[in-house]
Amino acid sequence: MSVFVLGVATHPPSLQERRLRLEEMAYHTARAALDDAGVTRRQLDSVTLGSSDELDGRPISSMLMSAPAGGYETDEIKVTDSGATALCMAYARFLSGESQLGLVVSWCKSSKSDVEAVMRLRGDPFYTRPLGIGAAISDALFAQAVAAEFGIDEEEVARRVVGAYARAAGNPRGIRHAVPSLESVGRSPFEAMPLRSAQRAPLTDGAVAMVLASGRFVNSHPGCRPLARIAGVGWATDSYRLDAARLRSMTSARVAWREAMRQAGVESTAELDVVELESQSGFHEAAYVRAFGIENEDALSPSGGPFAQNPLFCTGLINAAEAVLQVAGRAGAVQRHRAQRAAAHSCHGYAQQGNVVMVFEGVGDSR
């Protein structure tokens, strides 16, 4: 059974979205995705949301958010791991035959949340929380572990950060941060050893929506032209512990990658034209490239990944949207020539506790 992407939309990125409330951001993005797909909300039989109460700033945030995101008088479910996890959940709903046309929506208004506080509250109250471990410290522990594991040095990290910013500068859907110099990255202050502030992707506000359709729906609606086919998804979770063995093993990332590639029938990363990584820092990119065996750096995150926009909870699903646009030939200035197969990656939780990998294939004019 094939599952297709019919439409995608991303909210215009912003460091601080002041004009719109969160539900208005979700509404405009969901609406834009439906328009992109050429379908209406009333045709939907499922909506899958990816959001975090803690980052949204209210318990059961989907009460307020589901209807603006398209979940009105339809089947709707919410997962709280990441936007990309919502895509995995939706994919299962299609494969099981329960849905024929659905919407996946995720959002994050990072500017309205104290992200570090939310991350610290993730700590168990007995051992982790008293240590004050938040996003910066856990990312730094990850950086420390993978640097030791793979021999990653600061020069490589700075090169990868500048490279990501440079690619992001061409992304019409990115925020277009100024591209820093190697020196300024290398001299920026430490946030937590060995992680420097300029090595991390800046947080932004954003939202993303994707319309999925079954083969049956596509065949019975000749006017709808799919952008891509979902060829495989994989996701996995690592131990809650932050010890070096867990951090440097990158087990969940490898498991997720392997499963997505198996489903997609990809035997070598050389078969991928594009790989959109969620690299929250230069250390992350260096580690993921090695863990996944990515040798073709030209395929690496043409969008700039989180350095283009980074609404934390849904950055991975934005990567998926970028991958879809690549295989549909609609990526604009960051389009890779004849991209036919693209992978998108997402990570979430303390020090990348969970990882998601999705593979998309172009469908051209054939169905």
């Binding site: 975090s52 059961i60 035959g97 690592d238 087990t251």
Partner: protein, 397 residues
């Protein structure tokens, strides 16, 4: 893929206000290990995990499912958390159902735990689920919202508070046979009427307790069922509906869905029955395990799920229609959510109690001759609804 999905094992702890001897993650582990043991499985037999966890504000640990990863044997496995408020447990079952039915995993563990009483007043937290500009100051919370529902129902159909009280009397009586239930006992209509008024017309006994505990279920495909469970319950129908958050948009003459009529139930029920090949629920379903945190909630569902006509559920209650012994259908033999409400897993417990009836392992609660049972859960204020039908035989596509 359209894999048949079967329940292979279930487990729930005793529920009470506090579980002082265990932490949240230990509670989750007890449930996970219990369900695996019940199915005769080991963690290696599990392909993926769905964590059932509603608002974390009650306990104060953000994304507490992450804390539980190692305890529920999740490290290295695909794991995700479902959260649809009070409907979470039912949504988690349906998410696991999708993962198996899709052919992505042969077996999935659904697990969760609740410690709602960690917060001194859940209603203050539940006030925060409402809109900050319009609703919080009223003050809306779940008790006050359900009271609006009850007021409208009683007035529209000429029922009394005593009619609601009979529901509580039956629930507490049923719960006497449920070793996991939080509240149980022989009480009278007069006892309910004499309990303190919380939000008119709902009194203390009309309202569920704040329960802590944990629960888990293992579902799998037919191959796993053949290996591990000689008498599985098959998940033959699932459906879910969401409507708008706003009360006002559910109360106008032109509203798509009327808040008081609980239209999402009718819509989900129709779809669920269609999938499970149920045409006459009253004669084909022997047990309901409906999510009923208030004495009014099950009556509305029984009507919208076509067990009786609108406005008749409480009248039929007087005649014993919903009794386990001698009733037309056994409504909540476990005592339901009125007796036990661990929000994070309340819907999962409903599903477990329904599946156990089909599997013939409901113990003292067992109803004889059960071929089909339906469970449900409700989230938001009647905003999220899902129902699941379990059967002794699989229904083909």
């Amino acid at each position: 893929m359209n894999e048949t999905v079967a329940v292979l094992g279930t487990f729930q702890t005793e529920f009470r206000t506090h579980h002082l001897r265990h932490t949240f993650v230990e509670q989750a582990q007890i449930a996970a290990a219990g369900a695996l043991h019940d199915a005769g499985m080991t963690p290696d037999d599990i392909g993926a995990i769905v964590f059932s966890l509603g608002p974390t504000t009650f306990m104060g640990v953000a994304d507490a499912d992450r804390w539980a990863i190692d305890y529920v044997f999740g490290a290295g496995k695909p794991m995700l958390r479902v959260h649809t408020g009070g409907a979470t447990g039912g949504s988690a079952v349906q998410a696991a159902y999708n993962l198996v039915r899709a052919g992505l995993h042969r077996s999935v563990l659904i697990v969760g735990a609740e410690r709602i009483a960690e917060t001194p007043d859940a209603q203050k937290v539940l006030n925060l689920i409402f809109d900050v500009f319009y609703e919080r100051d009223m003050p809306l919370a779940t008790n006050t919202s359900a009271a609006l529902w009850a007021t409208r129902y009683l007035e529209r159909y000429g029922n009394t508070q005593e009619d609601l009280a009979r529901v509580v009397v039956r629930a507490r009586r049923n719960a006497l046979k449920n070793p996991h239930a939080h509240l149980k006992g022989i009480i009278t209509v007069a006892d309910v009427m004499a309990s303190p008024m919380i939000s008119h017309p709902l009194k203390l006994f009309d309202i569920c307790p704040r329960s802590s505990g944990s629960a888990a279920m293992v579902v799998g495909n037919m191959d796993m069922a053949r290996r591990f469970q000689p008498r599985p319950a098959f998940i033959n129908g699932v459906a879910s509906r969401t409507t708008t958050h706003w009360f006002g948009d559910r109360m106008t003459p032109s509203a798509d869905s009327d808040f008081f009529d609980f239209d999402v139930v009718a819509s989900a029920g129709r779809e669920c029955y269609g999938r499970a090949n149920i045409s006459d629920p009253l004669s084909e379903i022997q047990v309901t395990e409906l999510y009923d945190p208030y004495s009014i909630t099950a009556a509305l569902q029984l009507e919208r799920l076509r067990f009786c006509s609108p406005g008749t559920a409480l009248k039929l209650e007087r005649d014993g229609y919903w009794n386990v012994e001698g009733g037309a259908v056994a409504v909540n033999p476990s005592g339901g959510t009125l007796c036990t409400n661990p929000i994070a897993v309340a819907g999962l417990v409903r599903a477990i109690d329904a599946a156990n009836q089909v599997m013939g392992k409901a113990g003292a609660m067992q109803v004889s001759g059960v071929r089909n049972a339906i469970s449900s859960s409700v989230g938001g204020i009647g905003q999220f609804y899902n129902c699941t039908i379990f059967g002794t035989e699989p229904v083909g596509d």
